[in-house]
Symmetry: C2
Subunit: 376 residues, 2 copies
């Protein structure tokens, strides 16, 4: 498969620019993509950041990630055996590359070969039942034997059981913090075992302590890496259900293990089955669904390289001061559709997008998905 994989390699200098751009405040994966497409590259985007932020009304000096900080991260990563792989490079996990908010750079530790396997995520409750743990071990082992890498979140309970049962065949831990901030701390040894045939992946910088909000965000990577996600035991409103929702949004298969209606740990999985998830009582239920997907030809990569803008980016999209004022006046704490902003402001869509980008870089805009934005 690797032979036919397209992609380019970043130079050290480009990688440094990419890292600085994604580590700069108010630049998330989507904004990164917008910036790099509009400005033709990370370097140009970095240079534009202060002016964008100023025009967006940022208070105080603009914090662009310093070159020295990025260099320090790269050095520390190398020391820990962590590779920073860019979205356009062949080492980037191919399915993950297809999601809308794929991280521009992922930090990968362990065996890169593990990412060449087809991947299935197995996730579930931290306070799992004995039966749930046993069933997880069974399907993780059998999926490993069937040639899949098992992706999970290194949490207690189901996640740990899934990793442990697939150590020999290859398992991938997706972290919510930096590679040097393993959570939970008691799983440091498990992570070491994982790295011998598998890998760990995160989008967060070294030194990053995972906070509560980092876990849901991390869950999109678990599903994004995988052909499908198996949910074993999940209570209502649990993190595993967030992973299932991401999987649906990303067009990945959702599998759920049924359980007794009297077991609160089965509420989430039974609910998923009611909503159409594939029920799983044996490994073949998963393989049967994934096999035809694997046999499809690889979807072409979205973009081999960031495309430089046609013509000058600022031509025609540089908002006149009164346009900026008019668009800003239409924004408030209540989310509004970007389409409505275009209609109401009578500005061109590209001008509206530019004003929103400026506000975003200035830290004044919140994006809600579905084309909805509000002032932060």
């Amino acid at each position: 498969m690797d032979q036919v994989r397209q992609g380019v390699h970043l130079t050290d200098e480009q990688r440094l620019d990419w890292l600085r751009l994604i580590r700069s405040p108010n630049v998330g994966p989507r904004t990164f993509r917008t910036l790099i497409n509009h400005f033709g590259g990370a370097r140009a985007a970095l240079e534009a950041l202060p002016s964008l932020a100023r025009r967006g009304g940022a208070r105080g000096a603009t914090q662009v990630c310093a070159r020295a900080d990025a260099e320090r991260e790269i050095t520390a990563a190398e020391k820990l055996g962590v590779a920073l792989v860019a979205l356009v490079e062949p080492g980037y996990p191919p399915r993950l590359q297809m999601i809308d908010d794929a991280p521009p750079l992922v930090a990968i530790r362990g065996q890169a070969a593990a990412f060449a396997l087809p991947m299935v995520a197995i996730v579930g409750s931290r306070n799992a039942s004995g039966a749930g743990m046993k069933f997880t071990q069974r399907i993780a082992r059998e999926l490993g034997e069937a040639g899949f890498a098992v992706v999970s979140g290194l949490a207690r309970g189901i996640d740990a059981a899934a990793h442990r049962a697939s150590l020999a065949t290859g398992t991938i831990a997706v972290l919510a913090g930096g590679h040097d901030r393993v959570y939970p701390a008691e799983h440091v040894e498990l992570l070491d075992d994982i790295l011998s045939a598998g890998a760990a992946l995160t989008e967060m910088p070294l030194g990053w302590e995972p906070r509560g909000r980092d876990f849901p965000r991390r869950n999109r990577l678990i599903s994004g890496l995988s052909l499908g996600v198996v949910i074993v035991e999940a209570a209502k409103r649990s993190g595993s259900l967030i992973t299932a929702r991401f999987a649906l949004e990303q067009g990945r298969e959702v599998f759920a293990v049924p359980g007794s209606p009297l077991d609160p740990r089965a509420e989430g999985t039974n609910g998923l089955i009611k909503q159409g998830a594939t029920p799983v009582t044996e490994t073949s239920d998963i393989v049967t669904v994934l096999q035809p997907i694997m046999e499809q030809r690889n979807v072409p990569r979205q973009e081999a390289e960031p495309q430089p803008p046609e013509g000058g980016f600022f031509e025609g999209t540089d908002p006149a001061p009164d346009e900026r004022t008019r668009i800003l006046a239409l924004l408030g704490p209540t989310a509004v559709l970007i389409d409505d902003l275009v209609r109401l402001s009578k500005s061109s869509p590209s001008v509206v997008r530019m004003v929103l980008l400026e506000l975003e870089i200035a830290g004044r805009l919140e994006r809600h998905g579905g084309g909805l934005v509000s002032l932060a």
Copy 2:
């Protein structure tokens, strides 16, 4: 609902004829229907039986149910408070009337009013788990409160739990033997409790000890009475799965309660869910599906009365001796399609059907469903 129910009342004499016909050897519900449609009534069919059997090659004298035996059954039924209700009568359970092999007569004991309620069957393992029993009680009670009669098979385990939790609101026990041969014997008192607000129903004569093969046959009545069947805990190849299969064939809804893949009692129900049964974790899952079906106008009854044949039945359908020989020669122990018999014999379809009917009455034909027949 009863006001709009169509139907006729049989005279005592007609009821006696119907009973004699269905109690005669080699006459099942389907053959009964064929006979009564072809001959215009039970009396004429009874009179034709010996000749049909002879022409079909029956060995020995033909056993037609004696008038005295039928009179004895009617007297005994009256004594026990059992009503023999015919397929064409308004007291016949309306949904049951719609199935292909509806019994021409059902023996009903208890409160006829119970059959005016919309019905849901709840069935499952005899060796049920505590959780299975508890969940059964919950849904049976709640379905009763929602205005449904609960249908089940009086067995140990799930069946008994379903009956017990719906005694006050109305529950219907469908028996595999006669009303005076309750199985299991330990449920005689439960049956008494059932009869105070509910009913018991069977197609078998008084005095009939249920044998193993009577239970699967009985299961078609459980599903046939009901809008839908809920399977709570069922192992692979269990009787409850037979009920589910009948329900599908009869166009009834199939509901299944999920369970852990490690619990063998959930193998059957999880399997049903995989095949498309509605998963049930709460009563509303059932009611939501059945409500719209109940609100549909009642499907018209298949036939208000048996139709007399147009023209003489024997005209054109009386096989010539060589035709009978030719058709018989095409039959053997391997099942063959009736359509193929017509094609290969070059006889008319009605002649082929008549020869098959003769063989059936003579006890020499086996019907396999799907238009397949073989010599018995």
